[in-house]
């Protein structure tokens, strides 16, 4: 497979990919590509909802196309960026879902490719690609939120093992995951960041327990994960003992851009949700097709325009990158602005619904009303998770504006 594909080679790839998809993409899954979060997460505990989901995963994994750009020797497809784009376009054209999603593909995989040793890559990446192992993340602790470097989960040296004791919070989907990548303290003196190790832990190990967290919006994927003298082989250390902070920072940056991307994509209107103006017309019918309430109309227009301005800024950042420029300062605003915009949007949505926005469950409320109210509550967490808005503003002030500590 060529990496510096000529337009002709790319067209050949497109044709061959299309032919393969036509022959191998199960008909029953068409149209399931519209909701990216409703995909196959994989793992030992995963139950396929349709037999064809399993078939689709196996066929795509065989091609290496669950992780199209990863090297072939680790189970990936070895595609170039341009080829992966073609693959995604061909999938989209057939309304086919990605065969596999999850933190293995988006977080630990790229991290191991960058920081892992050969043995780790060979052990873990192929199992991620085949959807056999589901991963979760163990960063935050009850006493270490924004100030992550103050984490206290300790890993004590015991020969060829570490013995891990402590608690991680906000471990999304930990109750359904097989492995966790976690930050643990391996040194208590000196600079706090320099005593942290990035550790891969099999959640089937004795001493690991998980309890779900209930949010203000109801049940959630979040869990608390406890480690009670869990023995972890030292070969599961990534980037060396006390070298974990570098890995964590790289991963956090990745997570923030993922969050911003997700908001950018969702606010673009995937077609599944109604837009603010559509909802406003339902709840506030006016004369001549305009929204009846001039104040809310102004707020809606502001929200729609702010969304457009953010999307244009994301586009500007990508266009600059494609033109070969260094990343500009604008990318530092995505997380803070996208999350605050999303909160303003949900605030507006609930107010648009009026008293119909007060439903928790049961009769008298439409399913979409109940969902929107829960999502409004959930959106309050957007400016906390993945780096609070306050931390983001500190970062902008320091790194972009050069203001002193």
């Amino acid at each position: 497979m060529s990496t510096s594909a000529t337009p002709e080679a790319l067209e050949t790839f497109r044709r061959e990919t299309g032919e393969w998809l036509d022959a191998n993409a199960p008909e029953s899954l068409r149209g399931r590509g519209d909701d990216p979060l409703n995909g196959v997460w994989g793992g030992r505990r995963w139950e396929f909802r349709l037999p064809d989901e399993k078939l689709w995963l196996e066929r795509m994994a065989e091609k290496g196309w669950t992780a199209p750009q990863w090297p072939r020797e680790y189970g990936g497809g070895g595609l170039s960026g341009a080829e992966e784009k073609v693959l995604r376009q061909e999938l989209k054209a057939r309304r086919m879902p990605a065969p596999l999603i999850g933190f293995g593909l988006t977080m630990i995989g790229p991290t191991l490719l960058q920081f892992g040793n050969e043995e780790q890559k060979r052990e873990h990446l192929p199992r991620v690609c085949r959807g056999e192992i589901r991963w979760c993340q163990g960063y935050s602790e009850p006493g270490a939120g924004s100030d992550l470097a103050s984490l206290q989960t300790r890993a004590e040296d015991d020969g060829d093992h570490f013995v891990v004791t402590g608690t991680k919070v906000w471990t999304s989907y930990a109750d359904q995951s097989d492995w966790i990548f976690a930050l643990v303290r391996t040194r208590h003196e000196g600079a706090r960041q320099e005593g942290i190790t990035f550790l891969l832990i099999d959640m089937a190990s004795p001493g690991v327990s998980v309890s779900p967290i209930r949010l203000i919006s109801g049940s959630s994927p979040f869990c608390e994960t406890h480690f009670d003298a869990v023995r972890v082989p030292k070969r599961n250390v990534v980037n060396g003992v006390n070298g974990g902070w570098t890995v964590a920072k790289a991963l956090l940056g990745h997570e923030r851009s993922m969050i911003a991307d997700a908001f950018g994509a969702s606010s673009g209107g995937s077609g599944r949700r109604k837009t603010l103006p559509q909802l406003a017309r339902e709840y506030l019918p006016g004369s001549d097709g305009r929204i009846g309430d001039a104040v809310l109309r102004d707020e809606i227009a502001r929200n729609e325009m702010d969304t457009r301005a953010l999307m244009l800024t994301v586009q500007r950042s990508r266009d600059a990158a494609r033109a070969g420029h260094q990343p500009g300062p604008e990318s530092s605003l995505f997380k803070v602005y996208a999350t605050e915009l999303n909160q303003r949007r949900y605030d507006l949505l609930v107010r648009l619904m009026g008293p119909q926005g007060l439903g928790w469950e049961g009769p008298g409320f439409a399913e979409s009303e109940l969902r929107t109210t829960r999502e409004w509550l959930r959106s309050r967490g957007n400016t906390i998770e993945g780096g609070t808005s306050e931390v983001q503003r500190n970062i902008i002030a320091k790194r972009v504006l050069g203001l002193p500590d």
Binding site: D298, M305, Q315, D319, L401
Partner: protein, 374 residues
């Protein structure tokens, strides 16, 4: 649409930045104001800008222009905006010049555009009336049939650079619609009285008392030039936004410099988190404006049918972000920010004037909603 500067645009930006740094410091604006200069800008600098090719950027090559677009002009206007250069791009190039370029006959274009591009002819558009606020159609000025042509009567306010314009493009009601008429400043019945504005920009009251004009004075058709006027003002709005982008960027830079140097309570005030977070918000506002201005200019250049919405997006954003940057600037400078001696006040005044030109943020949000059908 690519939201990145092309190599040619980068080159224009570099030339403009060097020119502004060397030839157009902010002190020039202060001097013009203090001298009570009736022209309000430098004619010799205008001529130099014409020689650099900037004045002719948006006009066709066959009429002495460069045949480029708003995306290129915006790069120049942003650079000039940094130091609030008062040269008459808005009145002459973006308003009257665009009206002629978009709506003029071949003869009108040939008569005016080469002279405009060469920096020899100054013109303006007299759209504002005392009670029209931001509504381009709310006119009391009328053109009534008189002989082979019309007689024009009415009063226009805050006509930019009215005192030096040799001709004015005047919107007037005619036959139940809007006509645009090209009126020589020398014509009998035209009188101009200078107005003094908060931002120091030259403007004038224009009285039209039965001004007789031939049918050849019209730009576009009688009573049907409303869309032309809107198209012209959309272009001018993007130009103004580019100027605002440069000005808010500079106002913010000045504020940051102050935050890094001023000490109180034994610390540089830029180390205080209350100020850091507010500075971060100004930064976010400016960056979003840059994307919106680039998109609006490019979509007008591409004659995209959704361009009007992007123009309103740019103007709504720039109106708020520039004022925000200027207000925060004055606050963060503290007491000296209130003194005439410091420059930040010039930006605050310009921010207000630019906000209330071609529609403020709320007006453009309402326009966006109308364009989107709600």
């Amino acid at each position: 649409m690519q939201l990145v500067l092309s190599e040619d645009q980068e080159l224009i930006a570099k030339t403009a930045a060097d020119f502004v740094a060397e030839r157009s410091p902010l002190s020039r604006v202060r001097e013009l104001r203090d001298a009570g200069d009736a022209t309000g800008f430098s004619r010799s600098l205008w001529k130099e800008m014409a020689e650099l090719g900037w004045v002719g950027i948006p006009f066709p090559e066959e009429h002495g222009g460069a045949g480029m677009g708003l995306a290129e002009l915006a790069v120049v206007l942003e650079a000039l905006g940094r130091n609030l250069a008062p040269e008459p791009f808005l009145s002459t190039v973006l308003l009257a010049g665009q009206a002629i370029a978009l709506g003029g006959s071949r003869e009108q274009k040939q008569a005016w555009l080469p002279r405009i591009a060469a920096g020899d002819a100054l013109l303006s558009l007299a759209h504002q009336e005392a009670r029209s606020r931001f509504d381009l159609g709310a006119l009391e000025t009328r053109a009534e049939a008189a002989g082979d042509g019309v007689a024009l009567s009415g009063e226009k306010v805050q006509v930019l650079d009215a005192g030096v314009a040799e001709a004015l493009v005047v919107p007037a009601l005619e036959a139940g619609g809007i006509s645009l008429l090209l009126v020589p400043a020398e014509a009998p019945g035209v009188s101009v009285e200078a107005q003094s504005r908060v931002d120091g920009r030259a403007a004038g009251l224009v009285r039209l008392d039965g001004v007789r004009l031939g049918a050849d004075a019209r730009l576009g058709a009688a009573g049907a030039a409303g869309p032309l006027l809107e198209a012209v003002v959309d272009r001018a709005t993007v130009g103004l936004c580019a100027e605002m982008l440069g000005a808010m960027t500079r106002a913010f830079e000045m504020t940051l410099e102050h935050l890094k140097q001023r000490e109180q309570f034994g610390a540089v005030i830029g180390s205080f988190q209350a100020l850091k977070h507010r500075a971060a918000d100004v930064f976010i506002g400016v960056e979003l404006c840059r994307s919106a201005v680039m998109a609006a200019a490019r979509s007008l250049d591409a004659a995209d049918e959704r361009a009007a919405g992007l123009v309103s997006l740019a103007k709504a954003r720039c109106s708020e972000a520039f004022l925000h940057a200027a207000n925060e600037g004055v606050q963060m400078f503290g007491g000296v920010g209130m003194t005439d001696e410091y420059d930040i006040g010039f930006y605050l005044k310009r921010a207000r004037a630019a906000e209330l030109t071609f529609g403020d943020a709320a007006w453009h949000r309402d326009r966006w909603a109308r364009l989107e059908g709600y």
